[in-house]
Symmetry: C2
Subunit: 345 residues, 2 copies
């Protein structure tokens, strides 16, 4: 019998239809490894720094100059930005339609100078530098009063929307709070108002107790297959301790986060034959500047809990999902967690 399950955070129902019995091997050859093989020129490779827009910041070896070799992680503006950095946010209407100018930031975090080095194969300390880069950009961009939200994400593989194979992540800062973020914030706030507890802390507590959907844990972080997983092998990475924003995470925890992220990406790679995936950092919206309270977070610091959602792209969205927002997932999260826990990495 299939099951309908509801995600308590997003209020989203999902059909877990595991009669259709999808094991890792049923998803076919989706390996990303060889996609970039034929590419001749890569603007993200070391030595090609002048072929990209000038860098915003970088983790550099002492003594090296911007836009030359010698970096470990490099942040540049996206050459084809979805939103434009210069200008004011003009809000207007056409008849009863609302619109505003497409102001925002769209940046690329080049994760390594090496074309073929993916996160699972990096040193822990290198993954930490990528996380450092995310933090720097969040801290810098959240000061811009035009922006309400900054979304950090990664597309790995063509099927996941990547157009260049060199390891990179991206961020987009937007003048509105995006819809899913708004929904997540509203629902976690409602939960907090009712229970005086963070909904994510409750999820972590329940999942640590149940164990069946737990994939990985270390001292500070936990990885679970969420109860109402939309997609086969969807996983969430959360800090065990309540923390609303990624950017306020203490530096000493970053190495453990790097290990955790590397571990889960390695498990996914091994279990699913190097699948395309997306990951998205869900962090609190930007603090609202108020007179005398420059970094006013409001109640979000109690009711929201940052996390990273990782979605392997194994199935296709079809008409039903588009029309309904109700996902049909052929692999139960309990099965997925078991495969991911037991794989040898």
């Amino acid at each position: 019998m299939p099951e309908l399950r509801k995600d308590p955070v997003s209020d989203r129902w999902v059909v877990i239809s595991s009669e259709r019995g999808r094991r890792p091997s049923d998803f076919g050859a989706v390996s990303v490894a060889e996609e970039g093989a034929g590419v001749k020129f890569c603007p993200f490779c070391e030595g090609n720094e002048t072929k990209t827009p000038p860098e915003i910041t970088a983790w550099r070896k002492p003594g090296t100059t911007a836009n030359t070799p010698g970096w470990d992680v490099r942040i540049i503006p996206n050459k084809f930005p979805a939103l434009i950095i210069e200008g004011e946010v003009n809000r207007t209407g056409i008849g009863f339609f609302d619109m505003m100018s497409g102001i925002g930031a769209h940046e690329v975090i080049v994760e390594t100078p090496r074309h073929n080095l993916a996160i699972p194969d990096m040193e822990d300390s290198h993954v930490e530098k990528i996380l450092w880069a995310y933090k720097q950009r969040l801290l810098d961009l959240e000061k811009d009063p035009r922006f309400r939200y900054i979304l950090v994400f990664k597309n790995y593989g063509i099927a996941a929307g990547a157009s260049l194979s060199h390891p990179h992540s991206q961020l987009i800062a937007t003048p509105i709070t995006p819809r899913y973020v708004k929904l997540e914030l509203a629902n976690s706030r409602a939960y907090f108002l009712e229970k005086e507890r963070c909904i994510f802390c409750d999820i972590i507590r329940q999942e640590l107790g149940a164990g069946v959907r737990l994939v990985y844990e270390n001292e500070y972080f936990v990885v679970i297959a969420p109860f109402a997983s939309r997609f086969p092998f969807e996983v969430w990475l959360l800090p065990r301790r309540h923390e609303h924003g990624f950017q306020i995470m203490p530096d000493e925890e970053r190495l453990l986060l790097a290990r955790c992220l590397k571990d889960i990406l390695k498990r996914l790679k091994k279990t699913l034959n190097d699948p395309p995936y997306n990951f998205v950092l869900h962090t609190a919206p930007n603090p609202v500047p108020r007179p005398g309270k420059p970094d006013y977070w409001g109640t979000v610091q109690y009711d929201f809990h940052w996390h990273i959602e990782i979605i392997p792209r194994l199935t296709k969205m079809a008409g039903f999902e588009w029309g309904s927002g109700l996902y049909i997932n052929p692999t139960s999260p309990e099965e997925a967690a078991k495969y991911l826990r037991e794989v040898e990495i």
Copy 2:
């Protein structure tokens, strides 16, 4: 300058980023026509009726028997249903998670006995029979008190999620109202409460006046590229007159709807080289049975307006869209409408 636009129905912001300038030819070879060429056996073809589950109903030539040749449109249960028809809807919880049994209907509407005859090439009167089939199934399934909503949709092409190339649509009846439907209903209700007008009627009025996003109109129906289109060449087909449910459409309008649907699918096929697409019928949720009022629609009959949303699958969903629900569309709806209006069909 890109624009942020808000869809008034769903409250959804969209980035129209037409600097990226995507004309029809920029989307690459996506033609669906040859996908099914190598297939040897098709269970939906005439003569293979015994290879599918027994038919639920069909438009048949007089004197022919169920599950034998002689049909024009044939409705069968999905052989691999996402939800199961037999059983009670049991609602339960695990800790603080909610779930219910996966009861529902999952049916296939085989649109023609001929393997290679797509809607744009059918007779108008045949397309009408497909629409007749949708209506029959909606009227029948909405009587089942276990079901809250019935979603009719079509996946055309592998990239749109179709697993068989023989022309077919599907429907899924669910014991919950799916999330997007709920959102659309809630927002159109709020609009009606404020204005005493249907939000879709207002959209149609504004679009007929503006003209720039209008693709097609006949006496009863109109096709527009919506103001905040999520995807390149997304189009909506709406009845001009206020009507909440597809299933209450008078029979005499059905031929004009058939012509309209055929026309727009032909325009998309011609403009975009036979692209994969999804279409989804957005109709009112099932009437709620009440004592003495067997078909109680509530205020939905005033505030909702059925329509069909058609989405060509030209771009890939990536991490940003997954994480934010904010879509980046490289083709403005005004450009899309112009191409679709001007193409010779």
